[in-house]
Symmetry: C2
Subunit: 371 residues, 2 copies
DNA sequence: CTTCAAAATGAAAACGTTTACAATTAAGCA
DNA sequence: TGCTTAATTGTAAACGTTTTCATTTTGAAG
């Protein structure tokens, strides 16, 4: 009824050894697959293990084997649809390779991020996957990174020689902007924060270059908050709608930001896409919700997770391989938040104009072919 | 350019000891706060630690201290808005108490769930938080649970004496149904799966009892898939709309399921809330999206996480305290997916009728007062 | 029944800490 | 200066494994 005072004595390899009348080395051998041990003793030992309820203590094992089979996953916040989706895929593929995940949030804070790295490092993880908080991360983190294999996800710290896997952000916004222009838009406003991360810098550049290449003047509305939450997007969009009306389309730097725009637009009686077209980036799961139906640039998240984990365990197993930089290709996911500015023009022409150029976007940062 | 072959020699306490001309016991003392050591030697040792870049190896420390400061978090899928939000809060509060989180998914699979428990157990976590996959979890898991403090979240395995923290699911659907009835609905369809978890059984019961208490006939449409994904909800809702039209409101067992309904309704040209009112449960972050605006039953997720972690570390620190069962109170979050069936009736009357009864819901499973 | 190689097992060291206990040093006091 | 006691430091064991190396057992061949 009240507290159940268990003895909580864990059974160790020695207990099994005593019970089975063998040395504990033999027990260890019975438990590891490819060791030389007679089949009948193995069976006997296994039987005793089972009877006593022995389970191997992986922290002891880690110490002597010098591997923990643990991967640190450091990210700003698991409560962000893009990141939880990434985390999901990362955990899945890691588990399939017999690695477990230690989750550490940095809360979009550089100091916390540093603490998180230190934490997982102290716990002797075999490798680290970082979704960085900001570009400034790198100088901070530099000193830790040579201790253990590391791969950055969703952010190519351009100055850093570390491994990373990202989507081709430049290409993403480039084709996005082209799509809007193909729909007839000439006044497209880029809505986001340009400077905090390489990711966002590249996204802004892709948009800008696409505009310039088609003789359209780039227009920016810079957020002073991170494009990470709907709330931030909402606040910024309210400000935007208050200050400006000189655009027919909004190209948001992230889907969460786009959702914020959606919310603010609702409040201001602005119809999407009838009054203004809206384009996102990331294709988070909620972009496809009915009523939302956000046209957006898809990041191949499962593939990114797969590549990231595989680069990492590759490095782990080969003791610091050469750095790998993988840049995957984003794709335009058409839904209903963008519409042609001139409804009279036939769709086929739009398609045609679009197809004209997107196939040869020259992305300055796509160092490698996609998966 | 190519592989950078680091020596990767980690500096241990012995290296520091040698360098500082002390025994390694002294180094250990210098690093742990309340030990008797002369201040100048501590400084000297700390200086050497710093110079050599020493960081303590927590797996070695874990072994001798017999604690890992690791909490296992076992849940069906981090890629589920409710769970990622819970995970977020759990990780935050755990981190503030100097615990780290080991994340393990069960993928809604009983076998995987058992494997996950075993995994974290082998890694010697100090405690486990489980968001169970199904009620059947318990018989499976029973044998592991006495090994280490455990707390269940979002599911009170009623047969089990383990600690748990949930919302009062019965009360939740009860007040939800009452709200719909207060809006004038008499044909309310409960849409979900009734049997897999205690949570869902209780939700169905709360709805049913509310109906009966107000002389309304309960109507069920049982899903044969789990109410965990939008896609499942969408498929089931399509089937529902094909088969039946005898209701004016849908009370969904989860928000994700409600989103599925929204999607299917869109497809069938059914307007929400004009044609049919829709009520959810959980208040996931996306329920408040513009255009979605789902009226729903809020689970106090941050509070649940807080209680869960605190129960757990309480147990850890007091070596198996008595079991704690905490049932928090859900609240109705009104948005715009429900509307009165008779628009002529004034809002005040609706409010009045509603207030009449919800204050004395007798929930058979609320063993304890809310936080 | 030896002999000998191969196979199986055991003994002990190692992984990097913490901590009880013993030994040393410092400090106070006559 | 010597004595006593408190504060500091060192020694060694322990945590639960894996693995090297040495030892024993096995079984086949002579």
């Amino acid at each position: 009824m009240s507290a159940s005072n268990q003895t909580k004595k864990t059974v160790t390899i020695k207990d099994v050894a005593r019970e089975a009348n063998v040395s504990y080395a033999t027990v260890s051998r019975a438990l590891s697959p490819g060791s030389s041990i007679r089949e009948d003793t193995r069976q006997r030992v296994l039987e005793v293990c089972d009877r006593l309820g022995y389970t191997t203590n992986y922290v002891a094992r880690s110490m002597v084997m010098r591997e923990t089979r643990l991967l640190g996953l450091v990210l700003p916040s698991i409560d962000n649809p893009f990141m939880s989706e990434m985390a999901y895929h990362i955990e899945c593929i890691a588990r399939s390779l017999d690695y477990s995940i230690m989750l550490c949030s940095s809360s979009y804070d550089l100091k916390e991020e540093e603490k998180a790295i230190n934490l997982v490092l102290g716990r002797q993880v075999d490798g680290i996957i970082i979704i960085p908080t900001a570009r400034d991360s790198y100088p901070n983190l530099k000193k830790y990174l040579n201790k253990v294999p590391t791969v950055f996800v969703n952010e190519n710290l351009m100055e850093a020689p570390e491994s990373y896997v990202t989507v081709d952000n430049y290409r993403g916004t480039f084709i996005g902007a082209e799509y809007l222009m193909a729909l007839g838009h000439k006044r497209i406003l880029y809505f986001g924060r340009r400077s905090t991360t390489a990711t966002h810098t590249l996204r802004a550049m892709g948009y800008q270059d696409a505009c310039l290449q088609h003789g359209v003047e780039p227009m920016f509305f810079d957020s002073y908050t991170d494009a990470t939450t709907i709330t931030n997007g909402y606040e910024m969009a309210r400000q935007l709608f208050r200050e400006r009306q000189d655009f027919t389309a909004i190209q948001a730097s992230t889907d969460t930001f786009a959702l914020g725009v959606l919310q603010a637009a609702d409040e201001y009686g602005i119809r999407i896409p009838e009054d203004i077209s809206l384009l996102g980036f990331d294709n988070i799961r909620y972009a496809q919700l009915p009523k939302i139906n956000l046209t957006t640039i898809e990041q191949p998240k499962a593939a990114m997770a797969d590549v990231a984990v595989n680069i990492l365990v590759g490095k782990i197993q080969n003791d610091f391989e050469a750095y790998s930089h993988r840049v995957l290709t984003p794709t335009l996911t058409k839904r209903s938040s963008c519409m042609p500015i001139d409804l009279s023009r036939p769709e086929s022409e739009i398609e045609w104009r679009l197809r004209l150029s997107t196939n040869d976007v020259h992305s300055p940062f796509a160092h490698e072919l996609p998966l």
